[in-house]
Each structure stands twice: as structure tokens, then as C-alpha cells.
């Protein structure tokens, strides 16, 4: 899933990898492709993660991980960092999800009564990145689908998700709802359909495997 998602990241893009699974996509990037990774606490050009012994106490990403710079990195304040996001300079963000609706609505920040730590920077990433993709398990820990007709949780942003990468499939959000694009190796199509809580449009012909 992470390796497949990494192929989203083409040359020249400015990319923000959200906290959790999306951050791990960085390990699957092709070093020969010129990209600029952004973290909203104020760094463009994120370098390798560092173990504690080598860490700079002043240099973290928005998830709190110790990172490094590369030649051409720049630091900025939080207002400038989000100016980049809202101003249209963030080409792609990859985010986690609690729920994704077939119209692209995303819920990933609040479970009323259970989990309400605040939205952090997720609202603006979801609403303003030029392309928003979700990286997530296909179902939650209780086995319930995360891809739904409509979100039941408070929204992060409306109609923002373009594509979802899960452990089972690659699914696009289209005007006609969810469309299956690829399926994970060894996963039966019936399992994907059963694990999806909304209509899943199937491609004509064979389904590519990733």
C-alpha cells in the first residue's frame, strides 16, 4: 500500500505527508525524483528521519519525529507554512482517515465523546491541497468499513478526497461514487466489495493488481 501510494509522487511536486501511515510513504520514495516534502510546522525540504542520538532538538516534523534538512531546505513560521497550503502551492497531501464518503467527504479528526484532541493542521491540508489522497486500512479495528455512503463523524473537509489507498485496494472518488482501480495482490474482489460500505464501481475488464 505504501509503495503503491509512493508512486503518486511525481517530479516537481510539493507534498505534505500526514501524521501516521502517510508519513511512512517517505521510505518508499525514489530518490531520483525531485520533490519537495513540506511539514506544516515550518519546513520545506524534509530530509531523512534521525534516531535520537543524532537528532537536532529544534528540528522535528509535525508528527514530532526528528528529521533533517537537505540542500535547499528552508524554515518558515507557522503562518507562512499554512499560507503555502491555502495559497495553492501544496500539490498533494496524503492523509489518514476515520471515514471517507463516496462524494469525497473526509472525517479524520474527531470522534465525539471519545477522541477530540483538536484538528491541528488537518483541516487546511484536506481543504486546500490541490490533490488529497487518503492512506488507510480498508476497515477500522472493529472491522467496520471506512469507505461509506456518507460520513457519520464530524467532517474535516467536504468533497476533498480524490483517491484512497488501502491495504486491499486503490479506489478513486468519481462523480459516480467510488471506483475500484486496483486490487492488492491475493485479495479476492468479493472481500473488497464486502469491506466497502458504499457502492463500488468496478472497471471493465481485468482489475490491475498492486
Amino acid at each position: 500500500m505504501l509503495a503503491r501510494a509512493a508512486r503518486e509522487i511525481g517530479p516537481g511536486l510539493v507534498v505534505n505527508l500526514g501524521i501516521g501511515l502517510p508519513t511512512k510513504v517517505v521510505d518508499h520514495l525514489d530518490d531520483s525524483i525531485p520533490v519537495c516534502l513540506h511539514t506544516e510546522n515550518g519546513l520545506t525540504g524534509i530530509g531523512a528521519s534521525l534516531p535520537f542520538e543524532q537528532a537536532d532538538r529544534n528540528l522535528i516534523d509535525a508528527g514530532g519525529a526528528y528529521v533533517s534538512t537537505i540542500p535547499g531546505s528552508a524554515f518558515c513560521d507557522s503562518a507562512t507554512s499554512f499560507a503555502l497550503v491555502r495559497g495553492g502551492r501544496l500539490d498533494l497531501t496524503m492523509l489518514g482517515a476515520f471515514e471517507v464518503a463516496e462524494n469525497g467527504d473526509l472525517a479524520n479528526w474527531k470522534i465525539p465523546g471519545k477522541f477530540s484532541p483538536g484538528a491541528g493542521g488537518g483541516i487546511e491540508l484536506a481543504q486546500k491541497a490541490r490533490r488529497v489522497v487518503v492512506i488507510s486500512t480498508h476497515v477500522d479495528r472493529a472491522g467496520n468499513p471506512k469507505l461509506l455512503n456518507a460520513c457519520s463523524l464530524p467532517l474535516t473537509a467536504k468533497s476533498c478526497v480524490a483517491r484512497v489507498y488501502t491495504d486491499m485496494a486503490v479506489v478513486d472518488v468519481t462523480p459516480e461514487g467510488f471506483a475500484l482501480r486496483e486490487i492488492a495482490e491475493g485479495v479476492p474482489l468479493s472481500d473488497v466489495v464486502a469491506a466497502t460500505g458504499a457502492r463500488l464501481n468496478l472497471p471493465a475488464g481485468e482489475i490491475p493488481v498492486f
Partner: protein, 229 residues
């Protein structure tokens, strides 16, 4: 000749009264003015409104003020790493106002820039829009986000000069330069304090006129160090 603003920590923090609204720089550990927060804990001002991106982690920074019962309200973006803050919120022992992170940054900047507020579509179709005034701009609706100013800002600088010009290190910059513009009393703690001219005019992150007091830090304490999880 520019004014000298170097001040002792005790004297600078003693200017703060109960009920003050205080902005605290920092995103997680980097840029958090731990020493100024410690002194505020020691002096014990109460009924405070604290503005900070996050609530640090338990046992660090803002958490001392929470544990000490000094905080009435927190204006923040995310408190997920501080169990005490979440418990106090759930027990209604503190009030918490959540903002989207870039919106908090921008509200502070607007306060610093002497604006009344700004207009944005961020959060417009979500519960974050609840209670906010809506204005039409060119036929599309925008939310009014009000400017945020404070009585006091604590910022952590890597380097300062005695006039109050500040430089921040790496991602320790974050909210610090914004808050340094947005309070009536701005107190900067600095790891190094240089004479005027010690920071090149092109390299200054916060110009001295925004800063009231510069406090030189001694040895950097444990709280500032790398967190080994």
C-alpha cells in the same frame, strides 16, 4: 544607539497579573519558552488564558501551569499528547477553544498586524464554522475569523541582541515570530544574547521594536532536549 532591553527573568515575568492572556511559542518541544513558563509557575499568577499550538506533553511546559491550577482557558489546535489537558477539558476544569492550526497562526498574525480579523473559507462546511459570522465576498460566503492579541507573549529565541532582534532555530520558529508581534508585553528568552550588530540586519526574524524584554538563558535544561520516546 538603540535601547537595551535585557531584563532578569523574575522582573520581566513579575509584570504579569492574574487573569492575563498569555501566548506561548512552540510546536511540541522546539520553540517552547520552558524557562519563562517555569518562572510563571513559580510566581503563580492565576486565572490565565493560554494561547499555544499544543499543550506540550505531561510534565513539560504548559502542563506545569495546568497541574498548578493556573489556567482558566486554553486556545489551541491540538492537545492530544497531554492526557491531563484532555482530562481537565472533559471535567470542565478548563475551557478549551480549538482552532485549525493555520487559522490560529493567522489570527495571531492579524492581531500582531493591527487588523480586526480576516475572511476565509477554511472550515466553512464543518462544525468549526459554528457561531462564526459569515460575510459575502464576490458572491461567495466567507467566515470571519477575529484577530487574537494577548497581554503577554513568551517566545523562545536561539539568538537575540540586546535591542530585541530575534532569530529562531530550525522548526523552533513556528508560532514564535507571530506571537512576538501580537502582545502588549513581549518577553523573549534567548539561548545567546549578543550586542547590537550581533545579528545581521538581513537575518533578523523578529525586529527589535516588537520586543519589550530580552532574558538571557543560562544552561539549557532537560525540557529543551531531545525526547526519547
Amino acid at each position: 544607539m538603540l535601547p537595551d532591553k535585557t531584563t532578569s527573568m523574575e522582573e520581566a515575568v513579575a509584570r504579569i497579573g492574574n487573569g492575563a492572556t498569555i501566548m506561548l511559542g512552540g510546536f511540541g518541544v522546539p520553540g517552547t519558552p520552558f524557562s519563562l513558563i517555569r518562572e510563571l509557575t513559580r510566581q503563580g499568577q492565576t486565572d490565565l488564558i493560554i494561547v499555544k499550538n499544543d499543550a506540550n506533553e505531561t510534565g513539560m511546559g504548559v502542563d506545569h501551569l495546568l497541574a498548578n491550577g493556573q489556567v482558566r482557558k486554553l486556545i489551541t489546535t491540538h492537545i492530544g499528547l497531554n492526557r491531563r489537558a484532555i482530562d481537565m477539558l472533559n471535567a470542565a476544569e478548563i475551557e478549551v477553544e480549538f482552532c485549525a492550526q493555520g487559522i490560529l497562526a493567522e489570527r495571531i498574525r492579524a492581531g500582531g498586524a493591527g487588523l480586526k480579523g480576516f475572511l476565509t473559507d477554511i472550515g466553512i462546511d464543518t462544525e468549526l464554522a459554528t457561531g462564526k459570522q459569515v460575510v459575502e465576498i464576490d458572491g461567495t460566503p466567507a467566515l470571519v475569523e477575529t484577530a487574537l492579541r494577548a497581554d503577554v507573549a513568551f517566545v523562545h529565541a536561539d539568538r537575540a541582541d540586546s535591542f530585541g532582534n530575534l532569530c529562531y532555530a530550525a522548526t523552533a520558529r513556528n508560532f514564535n515570530p507571530l506571537m512576538a508581534m501580537a502582545a502588549d508585553l513581549v518577553i523573549a528568552e534567548a539561548e545567546t544574547v549578543l550586542p547590537p550588530g550581533g545579528i545581521a540586519a538581513d537575518a533578523v526574524h523578529t525586529p527589535g521594536p516588537f520586543v519589550d524584554h530580552v532574558v538571557m538563558l543560562g544552561e539549557i535544561g532537560e525540557e529543551y532536549q531531545v525526547v526519547r520516546r
